[in-house]
């Protein structure tokens, strides 16, 4: 997966978690939490969905690395390079 694929994937997962999320004007450098009003339970669901789909284990201490779309791409790129 490319970085663009990964950010698309994250957006798709969030859309599935919250069908009212508004992705217009989403800034990939800014925290998803603030822009989409997500909470820790929503983040857990993003992590769980990644685990379910790609068998990726993300420990709790790494959750901050999923803060923005760009940081998601950076963190997940090595794990998803063969997908």
């Amino acid at each position: 997966m490319t970085r663009a694929d990964i950010t698309d994937l994250i957006v798709e997962i969030i859309a599935d978690i919250d069908d009212e999320a508004d992705f217009d004007n989403l800034d990939p450098e800014k925290p998803l939490r603030d822009q989409l009003d997500l909470d820790s339970m929503d983040f857990l669901d993003i992590v769980m969905e990644l685990r379910k789909r790609y068998k990726i284990q993300i420990p709790e201490e790494d959750y901050p690395q999923l803060a923005t779309l760009n940081s998601c791409a950076t963190y997940l790129e090595p794990m998803l390079k063969d997908v």
């Binding site: 978690i17 919250d18 069908d19 009003d37 909470d39 339970m41 929503d42 857990l44 669901d45 769980m48 969905e49 685990r51 379910k52 284990q57 993300i58 420990p59 709790e60 201490e61 790494d62």
Partner: protein, 470 residues
């Protein structure tokens, strides 16, 4: 049979736990001893009419836009849309003592006005108390603190202290004459600050929604499947032995049947200090002609009352204590039951389990006790909300024994053990508890308990990152 995850108990906390597990894992099995799910919040049929066993109202009403409220978070976690539930707000409720009545609604401002009207001198203390509640995180595991004592440091009129305690006791306290302060905070927010609603349909459709979600995620539900024994090896659960002697091996177990009930399956008893006796309740249900709407208040969904001050919330010395209770008018919700020709009026009181148990030695005596309790409860309700006896089509009632028989809650204690295990851990590495005995309350509390225990113990990976090693 082997299952990776087994959830024991198909009540609301078990269903929620099972939905969360199945959403992200394969091979999840939910076991329910009865032929129906729901536990304390289920239903049955009498005279071809569906009757709910527990639901008066659901707490924690919030608007759709308030994304971080318990209700909206819970619905997202369970992947249920608000429209699927159908959320109908109460038309108001009240706490009534002989000296005064405090009305409240889903607008917290009403309660504040009512306190100003009846307890002018207490307004300042009440506002400081509410401000204090805002600073509390009630979900931290902490030892018991008396809510009565905390409230009394802010509010000096003992009548108001009692009136603010009464609904919290009836909607969730497992201990006598008090509430654990952290549970009080949860209940105060749930009932007074957020408010009450009912789903569009009955508890049956709500349960079907959860069950459908669970099976759509690939989970397996087995009804009429009671667990006889939890088989352990080296402080871990190895298998479950069912009532029919079948053995199910498993990796992780979530028990939602209660602390004492789980310990019993483990062959243990609880040796921790107990806080008083288990509290039991009796409930009467009157199915009445729709004309009752013209007789009883149209702005009261739940009436919490006490005929006496001080308010007494303890195991009664008689079979039922009629001096206080809750009257539920499930039709007093916005847009509900307008098209029905029959409606329900429900009453709840504290009961004494041992006296009901004793009465069962003679079926006739038990039947007479049930009938006289219904009659007294009805007369009391009529004195509070107006006469309706001539409109009753039929009635039914639950004693603590009915509750124990159908829900497995020992001694009919709907709010469970007086001692709570807030983190859900009881010393086995692959067994967690969820439900009533974690200190979460009501329907939303039961669902949240199932969700949080599974999230915290089974979904979040607390292991340190392997990549940090290099």
């Amino acid at each position: 049979m082997h299952a990776r995850f087994v959830v024991i108990g198909g009540g609301l906390s078990g269903l929620a736990a099972a939905v969360r597990l199945a959403r992200f894992n394969e091979n999840v099995l939910l076991l329910e001893q009865h032929s129906r799910v729901g536990g304390l919040n289920s239903y049955y049929y009498r005279n071809s009419r569906l009757i709910e066993t527990g639901l008066h109202a659901i707490t924690n009403y919030s608007e759709r836009s308030q994304r971080h409220t318990p209700l909206n978070r819970l619905l997202r976690q369970l992947k249920i849309r608000r429209e699927e539930v159908g959320i109908h707000q109460q038309l108001g409720s009240a706490v009534r003592f002989p000296q005064c009545t405090l009305r409240f609604s889903n607008d917290f401002g009403l309660l504040q006005e009512e306190i100003e009207r009846c307890f002018g001198a207490q307004v300042d203390g009440f506002n400081r108390f509410v401000a204090h509640l805002d600073t509390i995180n009630p979900f931290l595991a902490t030892p018991f603190i008396s809510a009565r004592q905390v409230v009394s440091t802010y509010i000096t009129d003992p009548l108001l202290v009692d009136m603010l305690l009464c609904p919290m006791c009836y909607y969730g306290s497992s201990i006598e004459n008090d509430v654990d302060f952290h549970q009080y905070v949860i209940l105060f927010r749930a009932i007074f600050q957020e408010g009450l609603f009912r789903p569009r349909a009955t508890i049956r459709e709500f349960l079907e929604l959860l069950t459908d979600r669970f099976t759509a995620f690939g989970g397996t539900l087995r009804l009429k499947t009671g667990v006889k024994r939890i088989v352990t090896r080296n402080n871990a659960v190895a298998a479950l032995e069912l009532d029919n002697d079948e053995i199910i091996t498993c990796e992780q177990v979530v028990s939602t049947i209660g602390l004492d009930e789980t310990l019993r399956l483990l062959g243990e008893t609880d040796h921790r200090p107990q806080r008083g006796q288990r509290l039991a309740f009796s409930e009467s249900i009157f199915v009445v002609q729709a004309g009752v709407r013209q007789r009883v208040p149209d702005d009261t969904a739940c009436l919490f009352f006490s005929a006496h001050h001080p308010f007494i919330y303890q195991r009664p010395t008689d079979a039922v204590d009629f001096r206080s209770g809750v009257i539920s008018l499930p039709f007093n919700f916005n847009g509900l039951h307008g098209d029905r020709d029959t409606l329900e009026i429900r009453t709840t009181h504290l009961a004494n389990y041992d006296l009901w148990r004793e009465a069962t030695t003679e079926p006739e005596r038990y039947r007479r006790l049930k009938e006289s309790s219904v009659k007294q409860s009805r007369q009391l309700a009529e004195s509070l909300i107006g006469p309706f006896a001539d409109l009753i089509l039929f009635h039914d009632s639950f004693s603590p024994l009915t509750i124990e028989r159908y829900t497995g809650k020992r001694e009919g204690a709907i709010y469970g053990s007086p001692a709570k295990v807030k983190d859900g851990l009881i010393g086995y590495e692959n067994l967690i508890l969820a439900g009533t005995d974690q200190g979460y309350l009501g329907i939303i509390g039961a669902l949240l308990s199932g969700v949080s225990m599974v999230n915290n113990h089974l979904l979040i990976n607390h292991q340190p990152s392997p990549t940090r090693e290099d």
